[in-house]
C-alpha cells in the first residue's frame, strides 16, 4: 500500500504571486500549445476560452493605498474531498468524460466522449472549464500551426487545462525508450511554466520530496484537523490554495508574502482570518 502511494505521482504547481507580472505569456503559451481557438470578439470573458486565465485582484483600498496582484488560474486539478479523486467536476460528469488519474493526480477531459451537458462547469468553483459555444475556426492557413499532440475540440464540448498531459506522455515515452522507470523533474514541465518570463510558476511532483514544488509547499501528510476533507495543506506560511475550505483539494498552490493576497484566496467570516492565518497544517497544531 505504502509502496503504491510512493509510486503514484501527484503533479502540482506553485505560482509565486509576488513574481507574477500579469504579462499573459502563460495564457498565450497555453493557447498555442493546446490548439485553443480564438474568435473575433474575445472581450466577453465569460465565453472566452482561456485554460489559463490571469485574474487581477485588488485590495479594495482607495488611492494611493490601492494594491493589485495577478493570479494565474489553470485548472486546479482538484483531488476532491479527502483527496480521494472525486473532484467537483469528475464526480458529476454523467458520461465519465472527465476523469481523475490516480497515477498522476491529473484531471483529464475526453473531448470525443463529452456530450456537452456542462454539469462539470457548474460544479467547478474556479471557472476553469470552458464550453465550445462555437465551432473552432482558424483563418485560412493558420491551421498550419496546429500541433498534432493535442486534438482540436469540436463545437459543443467542454475543455480545460490538462496540465499539458501530452508532455507527460512524451516524457514517459522517452523514459521508456531510454529504459528508465520514471521521468525526471525537468522532463515534464507544462507550457505555461516554461513560458513564464518571471519564473513565477514551478511545476513538479508534490509526492516527490526532491521536487521544487514539494519543497516549497511542504504538503501536510495528515488531514487538516479543522476540516478532515482538506488534505495536503501547505506547511509554508506564505502558501495557500484557492477556496481551500471547500475541500476541493487543488494541486495548484499560490505563494505570496502579502497577507491580503493570501486572504483573498478564500472566504472568511469576520474575524476568522486572524484566527486561521497562523494555522499551517496539522503539525502547527501539535
Amino acid at each position: 500500500m505504502k509502496q503504491e502511494n510512493n509510486k503514484a505521482h501527484k503533479f502540482g504547481m506553485v505560482i509565486d504571486l509576488d513574481k507574477c507580472t500579469g504579462c499573459g505569456s502563460c495564457m498565450v503559451s497555453c493557447m498555442s500549445e493546446n490548439n485553443v481557438p480564438f474568435k473575433e470578439d474575445e472581450s466577453n470573458k465569460k465565453d472566452s476560452i482561456t485554460w489559463m486565465r490571469v485574474y487581477k485582484i485588488t485590495n479594495g483600498k482607495s488611492f494611493p493605498d490601492t494594491e493589485i496582484v495577478y493570479l494565474p488560474r489553470p485548472c486546479q486539478h482538484c483531488g476532491g474531498k479527502g483527496d480521494h479523486g472525486h473532484s467537483p467536476c469528475v464526480s458529476v460528469c454523467p458520461a465519465t468524460a472527465t476523469d481523475y488519474g490516480y497515477d498522476t493526480g491529473i484531471v483529464s477531459q475526453i473531448y470525443t466522449r463529452c456530450f456537452g451537458c456542462r454539469y462539470c462547469m457548474g460544479a467547478c468553483p474556479y471557472h476553469a472549464r470552458y464550453f465550445n459555444w462555437w465551432d473552432p475556426k482558424w483563418p485560412e492557413g493558420m491551421e498550419n500551426y496546429l500541433s498534432p499532440n493535442v486534438s482540436p475540440r469540436m463545437r459543443g464540448v467542454v475543455e480545460k487545462c490538462s496540465f499539458c498531459y501530452h508532455r507527460y506522455q512524451a516524457a514517459r515515452d522517452k523514459a521508456y525508450v531510454d529504459g528508465r522507470d520514471d521521468i525526471e523533474e525537468q522532463e515534464y514541465q507544462t507550457a505555461c511554466t516554461t513560458a513564464c518570463p518571471a519564473g513565477a510558476i514551478v511545476f513538479g511532483d508534490l509526492n516527490n520530496p526532491a521536487h521544487a514544488v514539494h519543497q516549497i509547499v511542504k504538503p501536510d501528510p495528515h488531514p487538516d484537523p479543522r476540516n478532515k476533507h482538506i488534505v495536503g495543506k501547505s506547511r509554508n506560511p506564505n502558501v495557500f490554495r484557492l477556496l481551500e475550505r471547500l475541500g476541493t483539494n487543488p494541486k495548484v498552490y499560490y505563494l505570496s508574502e502579502r497577507e491580503w493576497v493570501r486572504k483573498a484566496g478564500d472566504n472568511y467570516l469576520e474575524g476568522e482570518w486572524d484566527e486561521i492565518k497562523n494555522h499551517h497544517g496539522s503539525s502547527s497544531h501539535d
Binding site: 490601492t66 496582484v69 500541433s147 518570463p197 519564473g199
Partner: protein, 709 residues
C-alpha cells in the same frame, strides 16, 4: 391479401418492432456520434517528425532567443530558448504567438501596386523596376535628397543596407522612429558625449528607482527585465516606482510613488537637490564632472528644492527627501528612465535629470549601476562607391532633425519636399502623435514604397508594397539594445520556408540597388542578403552561425566616462501638455499589447482584459473622485484638442485623480477582424509637443475632458 384495418395496424406495428430490434438503429446512432467526433470542418493537425530549431525573435527590441518546434516543415510552436544570454527560457506572449503573424492570411502575399483606391498584385520584377524607374527619375532631376526613408531602428545589417543605399543614392534623409535605444543614445550624447549608449545593471542593483519605466510593461528587453525584476525577491533588492498610475510595475514594486504626469523631471531634480544639499553624492565621481556642479547646485537649491516641488509633482517634500536619501545611501542604486516602454515621446530634460541621479551617486560603470558604453559595432561593410550626384546630395541639409518634423514640413509646404519615401518595418501613420497628420503627409508624397509584411496603416498609404519575410522566415542579425547590460548579437533564422511570395528586406534593397545600376549597384555586389550578412560580420559569423548568438561584451564596462551636466544647469523648460482642460490624458503601456506599429496577434488580443477593451471600445481608466457622473463600464465621450473618442469608463482607484489613462496599441484599422477595429488609437488623440532644445516630441499626454455619452 385483403388489407383491413387490423392487418394494416398489425403490419405497421410489426415493421416498427422489426426495425427497433434490428441493428439498424444502433448502427445509425453509433455512426452519427462518430461523425460528430470527426466533423470535417474541425481541423485535424497533420502529424510528422518533430524537430526544434533555435532562432531569435525580433518582434521587439528584446532580441530573445527562441526555440521553434516543427512538425515536418511546419513550425507549430515558439518558445523561449533555455540558456540564451538574454532571456534564458522565458518568452513574452508576442514572441510565443509569433506563428500567428507567420500564417496570417491578411499578410501582404505578393508585391502590390496601388491602383486608385485598391491594390493590385504584381510580380517582384515589375515592382522592382517600377521603384527603380521612379528613383532614377529623382536622381536624373539631380535631387536625390528628395528620397526619404523611415526605419524602425538603426541597428543591424538590414538597417545598415538601407543607410548604405541612401548614402550611395545621395540622400541624407533617412530617419528612425524614436526608440528606447535612440533615447538612451540621446541621453548619453548629452551627458557623456556622442557615440555611446546607456545600459542598466538591473540584475544586480539593490535599489531601483524607476521614473515610470515599465520594467514589466515591456520596457527595454522585456523578458530580461521580467527576470531581473523577479530575482529581486531572492536578492532582497528594492524597487520604487514613480508614476501617476498603479501600473503592473508599480503594483509589483516595494513602493509606488504617484506623481503628476509630466513632472518626473522636476521630481528627479528635487532629488538631486536633496543629494547635493545633504552632501550624499559620491565626491570622487562629482569631482570629475566637467565644469563642476556648482552652477547646477545653485539652480537646484533655488528652483527645485523639495519644498517647492511638492506642489508641482504631487509628492510630499518629506517623501522626496526620504527617497533621495535612500537612493543615495543604497549600496548599488540605479535610477531608470524612459517612461512606459521608453520608446514613445520622452523629454530629454527628464531623461537627463534622472540620469544625473546616477551620475551624482557615482554608480556609472559599477556593478548594479548604469553602464555607459560605446554603441555596438560589429559590422564591416566594404567602402561605398559614390558618384557625384551622391556626394552632392549628401551635402544637402536634412529635411528635419526627426521624422515628425519632416512630416510637418511636408504638410506645410505647397511644393513637394519629398518625391519618394521608403518605409521599412515602421508604421508612422499609427505610432506617431497626431497620426492623422502623418497620413495626410504621406498622401502628399508622390511615391511611397513600403517594405512590410502587413497591410498596416502606413502600408495602406503606399504606392508600392514590397512584402517582406516575417522573423520566422528570414535570416538576420539581431543586436541587443534597449538598456541591456550586455551586448550580444543573435541570429534570426528562416525556420519556415516563406509562406507567401515575400523576400528578405535585405534582398529587396539589394535588388533595387542593382536595378539602379552604376555606382549604386556596385556598392551592392552581393548575390543575396544571406551572402552579404556572412561577409559583413567576419568577426562574429562563426559564433552566429554555429551558436546562433555572439557575445560582444559582457560585464561592467571599463574606462572612465566624462560627465557634463551643463544641459541641466541651463535650466531647460519642462514640457507642458497641450490644451487647457483640467484633466490629463496619458498613454498606458500594457505588456499584452505592442505599442509599436505591428498590431497584436489574435492570441495577445484575446488576453487583453475587458477593463481595457470591451467589444470595439477602448476602456479608459479614471479615479472615481475624478469621474463625477460617470458610471463604471458606462460610455463616455473623451475630448482632447486633437479629437474625440467614444470610450468606456473603468473606475480605477489605482489612477491618480485628475488623470485619464488609455492603453496604447489599440485602434488599428487594417483588414484583420481579430485585431483591428478595436478601440481607439491614442496617438490620434495626442498631438506632438516639441521640446525646445532637444527637438524631441515630448508630449507625455494631453489635456482632456470627459463626459457621459
Amino acid at each position: 391479401m385483403k388489407v383491413d384495418r387490423r392487418s394494416f395496424l398489425g403490419l405497421g406495428l410489426g415493421a416498427v418492432a422489426g426495425i427497433a430490434v434490428s441493428p439498424v438503429g444502433i448502427k445509425l446512432t453509433d455512426d452519427s456520434s462518430i461523425w460528430t467526433q470527426n466533423w470535417p470542418w474541425t481541423p485535424v493537425p497533420v502529424d510528422g517528425e518533430v524537430s526544434y530549431e533555435s532562432s531569435v525573435c525580433s518582434l521587439c527590441p528584446g532580441s530573445c532567443g527562441i526555440s521553434v518546434r516543427k512538425i515536418g516543415d511546419r513550425p507549430v510552436k515558439i518558445e523561449g530558448l533555455a540558456g540564451h544570454p538574454i532571456n534564458d527560457g522565458g518568452a513574452c506572449l508576442h514572441g510565443i504567438a509569433g506563428l500567428q503573424y507567420l500564417y496570417d492570411p491578411s499578410r501582404v502575399k505578393t508585391p502590390l501596386k496601388k491602383n486608385g483606391n485598391t491594390f493590385e498584385a504584381i510580380s517582384w520584377e515589375d515592382a522592382i523596376s517600377l521603384v527603380a524607374a521612379k528613383l532614377a527619375d529623382i536622381r536624373n532631376s539631380n535631387a536625390p535628397e528628395r528620397l526619404a526613408g523611415i526605419m524602425d531602428k538603426d541597428l543591424g545589417s538590414v538597417s545598415a543596407l538601407f543607410k548604405r543605399f541612401f548614402n550611395t543614392f545621395g540622400s541624407p534623409n533617412i530617419y528612425t522612429l524614436p526608440t528606447l535605444e535612440s533615447n538612451l543614445q540621446a541621453t548619453a550624447a548629452t551627458v557623456h558625449g556622442k557615440g555611446q549608449t546607456i545600459a542598466f545593471d538591473l540584475e544586480n542593483a539593490d535599489f531601483v528607482l524607476s521614473f515610470g519605466a515599465g520594467l514589466i510593461e515591456g520596457w527595454g528587453s522585456p523578458v530580461n527585465g521580467f527576470k531581473a525584476n523577479a530575482s529581486r525577491k531572492e536578492r532582497h533588492a528594492k524597487l520604487y516606482q514613480i508614476e501617476p498610475r498603479l501600473s503592473n510595475t508599480a503594483a509589483n514594486a516595494d513602493k509606488w510613488i504617484p506623481v503628476k504626469p509630466g513632472t518626473e523631471a522636476d521630481l528627479a531634480l528635487a532629488m538631486c537637490a536633496v543629494i547635493l544639499k545633504k552632501k550624499l553624492f559620491d565626491s570622487k565621481a562629482v569631482a570629475n564632472f566637467k565644469g563642476g556642479v556648482n552652477k547646477l547646485n545653485a539652480l537646484l537649491q533655488k528652483t527645485y528644492a523639495p519644498s517647492k516641488m511638492a506642489e508641482t509633482t504631487g509628492v510630499k517634500s518629506s517623501d522626496i527627501d526620504t527617497i533621495a536619501t535612500l537612493f543615495a545611501k543604497a549600496k548599488m542604486p540605479v535610477a531608470v528612465f524612459g517612461k512606459g516602454r521608453g520608446d514613445g515621446a520622452q523629454s530629454l530634460k527628464e531623461l537627463v535629470a534622472v540620469h544625473t541621479l546616477n551620475c551624482l551617486v557615482g554608480n556609472i560603470n559599477k556593478k548594479g549601476g548604469a553602464f555607459v558604453q560605446p554603441e555596438t559595432a560589429y559590422l564591416e561593410f566594404p567602402a561605398e562607391s559614390m558618384d557625384s550626384i551622391a556626394t552632392d546630395g549628401l551635402t544637402k541639409a536634412k529635411a528635419g532633425r526627426y521624422a515628425h518634423q519632416v512630416f510637418e514640413k511636408i504638410n506645410a509646404a505647397s511644393q513637394p519636399v519629398v518625391e519618394a519615401l521608403f518605409v521599412y518595418n515602421a508604421n508612422p501613420c499609427y505610432t506617431l502623435h497626431g497620426a492623422d497628420n502623418i497620413k495626410k503627409a504621406l498622401g502628399k508624397i508622390p511615391f511611397v514604397v513600403s517594405f512590410s509584411s502587413f497591410l498596416d496603416e502606413t502600408a495602406k498609404q503606399a504606392d508600392i508594397i514590397l512584402p517582406i519575410h516575417t522573423f520566422v522566415e528570414r535570416l538576420e542579425d539581431v543586436p541587443s539594445c534597449a538598456g541591456l547590460a550586455k551586448s550580444v548579437v543573435g541570429l534570426t533564422k528562416p525556420v519556415s520556408p516563406p509562406i507567401f511570395d515575400t523576400k528578405n528586406p535585405g534582398d529587396a534593397i539589394i535588388l533595387i540597388a542593382k536595378a539602379l545600376e552604376g555606382d549604386i549597384a556596385q556598392s551592392f555586389e552581393w548575390d543575396s542578403y544571406d551572402d552579404c550578412l556572412e561577409s559583413v560580420t567576419p568577426g562574429i559569423w562563426d559564433d552566429l552561425s554555429e551558436e546562433g548568438v555572439a557575445v560582444i561584451s559582457e560585464g561592467i564596462p571599463t574606462g572612465s566616462v566624462a560627465v557634463n551636466v551643463s544641459f541641466l544647469a541651463d535650466n531647460p523648460a519642462t514640457v507642458q501638455a497641450q490644451g487647457d482642460d483640467s484633466l490629463t490624458l496619458i498613454p498606458i503601456d500594457n505588456m499584452r499589447l505592442p505599442s509599436a506599429g505591428t498590431a497584436a496577434s489574435p492570441f495577445a488580443v484575446k488576453t487583453v482584459s475587458d477593463t481595457i477593451l470591451k467589444g470595439t471600445d477602448s476602456v479608459v481608466e479614471i479615479n472615481p473622485l475624478t469621474a463625477r457622473g460617470l458610471e463604471d463600464r458606462g460610455y463616455a465621450t473623451l475630448t482632447t484638442p486633437m479629437g474625440t473618442a467614444r470610450v468606456r469608463v473603468n473606475l480605477n482607484e489605482g489612477m491618480m485623480p485628475g488623470v485619464i489613462g488609455m492603453v496604447e496599441g489599440l485602434g488599428h484599422d487594417f483588414d484583420n477582424k481579430y485585431v483591428s477595429n478595436k478601440g481607439t488609437n491614442i496617438n490620434d488623440l495626442i498631438g506632438p509637443v516639441i521640446e525646445s532644445g532637444s527637438g524631441l516630441d515630448a508630449a507625455f499626454g494631453i489635456k482632456a475632458k470627459i463626459s457621459k455619452a
